[in-house]
Amino acid sequence: MGSNNRRDDRVAEVAQSLRETASRAEQIEHAANRLAESGTAQAATAEQIRASLEGLAASIDETATASEQMAHAHGAAASTARDVVIGIEGIASGLQELSASVAGMRKEGELLARGSDATATTLEELARSVKGTSGSAAELTESADRLVAAASETSSSVADVALRGQETAATIEEVASTIEEMSTSTSRLASDAKQIGERVTSIAAGFKGVTGALDMVASDMTESASAVEETSATAEELARSFRSVSELTGALRDSAASSASSLTEVAASVEEVATTAEKNAAVVESNAAAIEQVARSAQSVAQSAQEVSTLASASASAATQLESSTRRIVTVVEGTRATSERVAGSARTSGQTVDRTIKGLSRIREAMAQGAAVMKDMGKRAEEIGDIVQAINLIADRTNLLSLNASIEAARAGEHGRGFAVIAEEVRALADRAAASAMDVAKIIRGLQAVARDAIAANGEGLRLADEGAQLSEEARSGLQTILQGVETLDTSIRNISTATEEQVRAVQTVAGSTARLEQESRAIARASTEQTQATQSLARAGGEMRTMAKQTRDATGEQARALRELVRANAQLASSTERVSRATEEQVTSATQLARAAVQMRTSTQRTVTSVSDQLRGVTGMASDVQDIASGTQRMVTAIAEQARGASEIARAMEGARKHAVQNARAVTEQARASKEIEAGTRDIARLSAEVTQATAAQTVALTGLAKEADDARRIAKQTARVVGEQAEALAAVAATSSRQTASMQGLARGAAEQAASTEQVSQAMRDVRTRVREISLALVAQAKTSHATASDVAIVAREIGGLRIAHVEQAELVTSIAHGPEGSPPPGSRT
């Protein structure tokens, strides 16, 4: 069957596409691993940011403390303010501005707190969604494990099928060889029967010859009988003449002499008859032997016919079995086709799901691109903040210089300058702290820039991975397309198989019918052969009796001859004693009368001989007709056996074809088993990779949980900072109230403070921008989380489809197993599940 080979090719193609799919899944796994690594790096960076934020909070704390101290100093300065005369109203107003700006800063701080609050909440949501993803991954691993178990079972059952198919092939081979032997033996039988027919024909011809010879013998005997009749009449005449010549002695002598010569002739004739009878006996003997041979050969023919009948019966039952098993194959093939249609449906649904996955990946890609733009913007803002910090640093340096010179002036002023010196000292300390904080801020900004750079790099990697994922999904889609095509081709092949199998059923039915006819015919032949044997045996018996009869005839004829020879001798003695006869004529008459009596007796016996020879002739003729019957019967038998041989050859040819199919079947099933093994190995790899994915996702979950906790801490610290800044603002308000009458020299300081306030305002402006960017990032993160969720649900659908595919695979494997077992007639092993 050509469709078998085609199906093999299709199966190989399907196995190939499965292997490709497995390797692609491995690539996807690698990409996911890389993605997990970059996620870990991001988590580490977030940790660094958090640490920097903590440092910032600490320095803000310190600033608050210093502010309090400054407030105290301002309290002391109030007592000496009267001495410093022309108040420090400029400074006061500057301080008020500072206070207002600090109040603004407090507001900003609160906004920052709220923003970090929102960030923490978003992070917690992200952690929850990652946990959900982890659960989905665990389910995926579980289903992959189940798939592995099913594939392993399928593989073992297919191996079982292969084994059984091979056994079936071996059995069919045996049956085929048996049928071939039968065919050859039938051919031999046919030739033997033909030889027998020829021999019987030659025997019939021989019989015709025998009949002719016997006819001749009969006519000879009739002639001899008439001669004996004549002899008898002559003897009677002789007796009469003896009686008349009793007186005439002289005449008697001549008469005696002629009588002697006549006797000699008779004796010769009888001798001839004896010889002929002898020949007759020999012919009958050989005839009987030939008949016995015929009987023996007819017996062997009957035996052979019996054997042929038995073989034909076995062949008929085998053909019937073959027919029913082929019918079962037809139904099984029908089931296979239905299953392959279901597989095609599942593959189509998977293709739709893969399309949805590709869409989700492109959405992720958009969100990532948005995140990258936001990160870049953030880096630019950080640079701006660095510039502002530099300006603050410069102002702080100037303030320090101013306060030092104020201290020197105060010292020079002596007792009057004491309070002023204290204030100058405090201002210097504040400026130093501001410089230190600016340094810290610069450090933090540098760290932030590094983090932003890392984040941009990680985002680029993520973008690339998303592209790769999209490409891989595309490849998976094309792989599914290939599978779909393969399934359709498989469907066509199965339709071809089904058609071929139906043809096979019809052919097998024909074989079964002809085998049944053959069986009947061979049975009739066996019966006829048996009858023939019986007839031949009775013929042989008749031949034996004929032989006995011929022997008796021969013996009788021999005795006749001997008696005649004695008669001739006696006649010779008669001739020689004619002299003495003439002397005792009376005695002679008496003896002549005796002679006449003897002649009459001789005639009677000759007549008996003729009768017996005629009987013999009749028997031989009947035998010849019997032999003719045998010859025609044998001819009929030869014809029947030849037909039988032809039928056996056809069966042998059919069996050879069946054997070839079985071998092909076994080979196909073996290849199927190998492909199943490979599928099993591929599925095992998938399961292992899925387990690794689950592990990585769990680790991600842990990292995200830690991150959420840290964000919570940051939120708390930010709140504390806001509170501290609030207190600081209050302290500064008090300072502003008490320092309303400070000197004009402080106005420069106030101007510096105003500049500082402006710078701080810039800082807070920058901080607002940063906050806006952070909000945008969190929005992008939310979008990302939503997309991830959609992707996870798509992955769940894919898992369900894979489960459906697996079930369809199992059913297919069962059907394939039952196909492989069909010809053996055993129940399909799938019925044990």
Partner: protein, 143 residues
């Protein structure tokens, strides 16, 4: 009184009594004076007057450093002579009683070429009292 201006050269801290200090200035650059001694960085304009600047690092035999925002000029007056001391940084005034200063150990005295008059230890910090006339030197009286 006992108020001192503290400054830093390399890793050591030095003090000058405020009585000898007029004021402090930030330092950007000095105009070089041809023929001046090598430890004179040049002259600067401060509060409307021209002040010769002594590079104290050079005077103390230390290698030059790169310019930084921390570098300052301490403008001192000895008698009628006004001069600037270019120092690595000067960000502090502090109260040190005269009694707190001790005679420097011999090793320091030898190495500092007589620029250090005394040493005061305050809260684990060591302050070296600079002999201002010596640091600005007779060379400036010529100039």
């Amino acid at each position: 009184m006992g108020l001192h201006v503290a400054f830093r050269i390399d890793k050591a801290e030095y003090v000058v009594p405020t009585e000898q200090v007029l004021y402090l200035e930030s330092y950007e650059a000095a105009t070089h004076i041809p023929g001046a001694p090598p430890y004179v960085a040049g002259i600067v304009q401060a509060r409307g007057r021209l002040v010769p600047v002594v590079d104290v690092r050079h005077r103390f035999g230390l290698p030059p450093i790169e310019h930084s925002i921390d570098r300052r000029v301490v403008v001192v007056q000895v008698g009628t002579r006004v001069a600037g001391l270019l120092v690595d940084s000067a960000r502090e005034v502090l109260q040190i009683d005269a009694a707190a200063f001790e005679k420097p150990p011999e090793v320091i005295e030898q190495q500092s070429a007589g620029f250090v008059k005394g040493v005061a230890a305050i809260a684990k910090r060591l302050f070296l009292l600079v002999d201002v006339p010596r640091v600005i030197g007779e060379e400036l009286s010529h100039g």
